[in-house]
């Protein structure tokens, strides 16, 4: 009994539980209130494949089964973002996402955000996968909802700097171009800034401590670079799904940042944060 309590007290500090609850509630919210299709079968395939792959890899490598929590987060991220009508594509996406964590590693960290690479590979290899940039719509209340959840998460893992640097840079560039130069009303800028997909990306995808640079300064530079690239891609090249592609291409640079800005790698659920 005492062991259970001890384990419970230890586990409760793990921010990943919060992330699972948040992502799960985003999914429920989307299905109940935003009229998303409730593709229960597809979601089940994402979750089952991700968890099985995670357990198998853990068994053959680190034997750290706590990583199943990360697997669940990846699975929920895929449920939220990756759209497909084919179950095998869902399975492929989840499998690639999880296995990339073990196969594509450098200096003890995996290079790619697992959900991100799962999405990219599914889209590239099959013709049956896509993302819907408009699935959330735009609303100030999304800031409240996704933003509050994101804030809680990021305070726990001390990774708020990425999101802040991203929003400040991207928001400023977009404002200067849209409102100051082109002359659109500020509502246009606000509509773009309160897009749910952008918020989810900024609060939950570019904040994965395992795939962003370790050092705070490096993270800020990395984030600013990401924001500038996204601004250029979306405003001048009109790539509507630019965010996930840019994150994919910028991820291999993370080890470079870690080389120049030395800092200890993040550990889930330790006492020193």
């Amino acid at each position: 009994m005492k062991t259970l309590i001890r384990v419970f007290k230890h586990e409760i500090n793990d921010p990943r539980y919060f992330q699972i609850i948040f992502l799960g509630s985003f999914l429920l919210f989307g299905i109940s209130y935003l009229d998303w299709d409730a593709n229960v079968l597809t979601y089940s395939v994402f979750i089952a494949t991700a968890l099985i792959t995670q357990v198998l890899f853990a068994f053959f490598t680190t034997k750290n089964y706590a990583s199943i929590k990360s697997g669940m987060i990846t699975a929920l991220g895929l449920c939220l973002l990756l759209k497909t009508g084919e179950l095998w594509v869902a399975s492929l996406g989840a499998f690639v996402a999880i296995s990339s964590k073990y196969i594509l590693r450098l200096r003890g960290k995996h290079i790619f955000n697992p959900a991100n690479i799962g999405i990219i590979v599914s889209i590239l290899l099959t013709n049956q996968a896509w993302i819907s940039p408009g699935q959330w719509g735009s609303s100030m209340l999304l800031w409240f909802f996704i933003g509050a959840a994101g804030l809680m998460m990021l305070l726990k893992v001390s990774r708020l700097d990425t999101t802040i640097a991203f929003f400040l840079t991207f928001g400023l560039l977009l404002f200067i171009r849209s409102v100051v130069y082109l002359g659109w009303e500020p509502e246009v800028w606000w509509h773009q800034m309160s897009n749910g997909t952008l918020l989810l990306f900024a609060f939950f995808m570019i904040t994965d401590p395992m795939t962003i640079p370790n050092h705070a300064k490096a993270r800020i530079i990395w984030s600013i670079g990401l924001a500038i690239t996204l601004f250029v891609a979306s405003s001048f090249f009109y790539i509507q799904t630019a965010a996930i592609w840019i994150l994919f291409f910028i991820s291999p640079f993370t080890p470079l940042f870690d080389q120049f800005f030395q800092q200890k790698k993040y550990e889930w659920n330790t006492l020193n944060k």
Partner: protein, 483 residues
Amino acid sequence: MKKIILSMMAICSIGQLAKAFCGFYVAKAGAELYNHKSEVILVRDGDQTFITMSNDFEGDVKDFAMVVPIPNVISRKDIQIADRSIFSKLDAYSAPRLVEYYDDNPCIIDFEENFINEAGGMQTRMLNPLTAMTSGITHQVKIEAKYNVEEYEILILSAKKSSGLKNWLLENDYKIPAKAEKVLEPYIKSGLKFFVVKVDLNKYNSEANDGFLRPLQIKVKTDKFMLPIRLGMANSVGEQDMIVYAFSKKGRVECSNYRTVKMPTGNNIPTFIKPKFGSFYKDVFKKKHKKEGKDVVFLEYAWNVTPSWSGMKCDPCVGNPPKQKEFIMAGVPWYENTTSQTYFTRLHVRYSLKNFPEDLFFIETPNKEHYQARYVIRHPAKGDLSCDRGVEYLEALRKRRMEELNSIASLANWDIRKYPDYVESGKIKSVVNESENKENILPFIFKDNNGGNRRYQPLMVVTFILLSVYLLNAFVRRLRSAK
């Protein structure tokens, strides 16, 4: 004499759907401009977009003019006149439909399939997506090209400043709405040109096309797959409707900067709706539009229309599915390529200045799922129903009819107390109460004050609770560590 531009909304008050157009109308000398909804065909092929704009203009053709922002100067071969009938064909094919079924009499053993598919499509009207403005060319406005395309005189203009374009229009006695100049500026700054059309009266044949103007079809090469609706809102005072018929080789087309939401489908509705389906669907749309926050695009139809695909192109079929002939009329460039797939999407958007700050941007997805807005009425069985199975059937029929009444209450806010005889029982009151109660579980939270925001309220409560718990926890821990 200054020619006045009349507000679309002031003129278009025929009822039916709210009028909409993708630009603003300019009327000469106070002419009555009568237009209805706008319809646009969008074909996307790589980085090319073919746009066909319907025109329901019914006034004097010498008063007609149209302006559309386009990404670059287009050549003569990129402009065509389209056949008006393509719009009614696509509308008939993809409009929300009503089907009816006839129940079999369970007491008759040998029954035949009384299955009649009859669909009344929702008449969609097209709004003129383009606003018309034309006048002489002056300084700061350069005529990039000038074409005579049968009965149309077309100019491609570029301007350095919106005031220049405004002056150009004013010099030709067109008073543009005060808001229009502001809207023109971002288009000009983005480097867009303006496609300006008027009718050449010498070439116009009023007998052809029943006095209607023929639609124009243009091809533009651009990475921006979008429709510039902001210009159309410049002189309107309310909501405008637009139907988009989209063709793609990849799959369903959806909006990328606003939510794309499916209209309700598959609902059983009462038999008395049959002659009133049009007004019923209008109310369904109105309620759904309000419920979703008035800032979404609605999907009404999505289907694989590849000619070589052997599957059913519609179920039921209201109008015939588009074939090669219709592809050609719609401007689909790959119609000869038998290996290309073709997917058709019908989107319906009711937009207003307040709820749609951005132009509509679209994205092609490989989503091949079929979808249609379809409503079902079931006629009860006839004849002697006194056998055991007949009695069971009648009980099930009563329940079904109650559900049908609930449907129209929840879908369209119709007052079902007007139809007390429909279920043949005194259960109407409880039906009304049930449907009212469903929407008012926690009235102080779910109060429908602003339509769309209602859906976020429970989440705000949950998030607030979570935040409070977290902050309390952090505070307590801090206190403990301070000790």
